[in-house]
Symmetry: C2
Subunit: 378 residues, 2 copies
């Protein structure tokens, strides 16, 4: 903030601007695409994509073939997931695919009781509502996986790196007959070191967190079992008769550009989005940690570095969210920060104490700067 | 079919081609858009539409404002629905909006029992599965509205013109406390005369049947009550965190071109899609009726003409589906036609006898020609 009168005015006025870091809106990536997005521009004519069908002979008949190809290519380039012998199911974001997975894993059950859905605290705040909002007889939210002790069938959701706290995770219940959904939305090199190619039965990914194109509402699942993939396809057929072709075609073009920039096979030498994202995230985390250390009110998780196969060097964990805990007198961190016009999401929503809040690290630069400015003057 | 040897071969071979008229895939409109779609070409840059949000201050925060504007404009131009004092909720096709409406109308219920969902036979075959596939505790399928006699809360789905039989419909239960969803997917001038602007509490529309762009997966609801609209918005927020922006932007451009062609305000004098569709549908129905009359095995519904306010003249009902009934010995019309490589949907799926089948009238010209060819040689 400049020290002259105009600067002071600007500062006072900006204090009153509400900054909303409740959602993980990935606007940080906009600058990258403004500079490097030329190859991603897509033109769709009026006569394209009329049909419901994309690939009638494919199990997932509404998957655009070129999008399927680019998904496989990108995973191979990044090395974060095995795609061989997997079915790809496209969804309206990974949110829809999570529901499709619940449907697929719970619908054949001999049991007439809804199956228990658990995830270890702190768990992603949307899972309980998504599981229960229709009062489904197929599945019900059963809370924290750490304390789950029912002798009943269950589905465990493993989010790795975890939303909200960024930690690398594995299943914790580990019982016979347990089924696992691996939500790998954040398993990309800008957020976490890629230590191996994930090789689970059911893995969820989304364009939103990979490239930042959340408005496209495109996600995908890699599924080992054919029957599970077919039931997920059934869910999406019944609930939305497929997935926007326009956004799939756009996502295909974007993923292709990302793969090419990683391989330097495209025109020019564009820095790939993962390297860009990695340096931006490192820088933001460094600045945030400095402010948090200086004001002394909160603590942040500490992560240990690991070798990232994609970057070819040791890398930090730089999560898409800051998981802030108040150290002292503040009992309700969300309310406290709201009083300073910073909207965050309370730990309560993630199954833990409201001493915690989740803060998005992915917003535009000016918003992130405002956040640091306000945190530094608390 | 030509009479030379090649022609005969071609005919024999084309008999073995399976023609699938089970779905209402609107490929008939492709030819129109190839000729007249120049103004609908859309270009989306790599840096566009990253955010989840389209219009944060709108109740439906994921509705692209220009799409909302074009929806209102088109309804005004066509005169098929009132948009004043309505909330617009966009959905991933009207299928998602139907579920959002069920959620909105059933979730506040004081009753702990699921609310009954009914529709008059023959009803749209997908309603039962959509209502029941998650075994929701909010709503359950209760079958035919004509015979509904429970003294309990209910939701009646009124599809007008009706899918499968093309008839104009009104609610049939008409009891205190009953709630109605009006599915007006086919209330456009290519299918039916526009006799008045629909003015119901909750109306569903879809781009798929209006312009033929089914692959975009875009529908919209016009909703009178703010709380109902807000709950529908909640449903779509939880289930897919909004709706593809790319497809909304494309749909906006397509609807604008349609409005302009109706008003002749655009460049050139393009025949509007409704006049085009009307003449194509009339022609197809005339040809189909001639073949059906000639072979004598089946009957088709008869419709009376009405004055269409949009066309400014008397117009026939020319539904998107033919609702065929066998007159004589054929008990299972779907199986019978399947034996001739014609895939249709059995009357059973619509709650009536399997003497009936539904056949799409919207496929490509060559498919429709094959259909007539085969029906004429039964």
């Amino acid at each position: 903030v400049t020290k002259d009168q105009d600067g002071v005015k600007k500062n006072l006025s900006s204090d009153r601007v509400i900054i909303n870091l409740d959602h993980g809106d990935p606007m940080m990536f906009e600058e990258y695409w403004k500079r490097n997005g030329d190859k991603c521009t897509i033109t769709i004519s009026g006569s394209q994509s009329l049909s419901y069908f994309s690939d009638p002979k494919n199990l997932c008949w509404f998957l655009e073939p070129e999008f399927g190809e680019e998904i496989k290519r990108l995973h191979n380039v990044v090395g974060n997931a095995i795609t061989e012998d997997r079915y790809i199911v496209v969804g309206t974001g990974s949110t829809q695919l999570f529901q499709a997975a619940l449907y697929a894993l719970s619908s054949p059950g001999a049991s007439s009781e809804p199956i228990n859905v658990v995830s270890a605290v702190p768990y992603f705040s949307c899972y309980p509502a998504i599981t229960d909002f229709l009062k489904s007889g197929l599945h019900k939210w059963a809370g924290d996986a750490w304390t789950y002790d029912k002798e009943e069938p269950y589905i465990e959701v493993v989010t790795s790196p975890n939303n909200p706290d960024g930690n690398v995770r594995e299943p914790v219940v580990k019982r016979n007959g347990g089924m696992v959904i691996h939500d790998l939305a954040y398993y990309w090199p800008q957020y976490t070191p890629i230590t191996s190619a994930a090789d689970h039965d059911l893995m969820l990914f989304t364009v939103s967190k990979c490239t930042g194109h959340a408005g496209a509402r495109i996600g995908w699942a890699l599924v080992k079992d054919k029957d599970v993939a077919a039931k997920m396809k059934d869910f999406i057929t019944i609930s939305t008769i497929g997935v926007s072709k326009d956004s799939q075609l756009r996502a295909a073009k974007i993923l292709r550009a990302v793969s090419e920039s990683c391989q330097n096979t495209g025109l020019g030498n564009v820095k790939n989005i993962f390297s860009y994202g990695r340096s931006r995230m490192n820088e933001r985390w460094e600045r945030l940690r400095a402010v948090i250390k200086q004001n002394g009110l909160f603590s942040l998780p500490e992560y240990s570095n690991q070798f990232c196969n994609f970057l070819g060097e040791c890398a930090e964990i730089s999560p898409a969210f800051a998981w802030l805990e108040s150290k002292g007198k503040i009992e309700d961190t969300e309310s406290f920060l709201k009083g300073h016009n910073i909207i965050t999401r309370s730990g309560k929503a993630f199954g833990v104490s409201n001493k915690y809040v989740r803060i998005s690290m992915l917003d535009r630069e000016e918003t992130f700067n405002l956040l640091l400015e306000r945190l530094s003057t608390l």
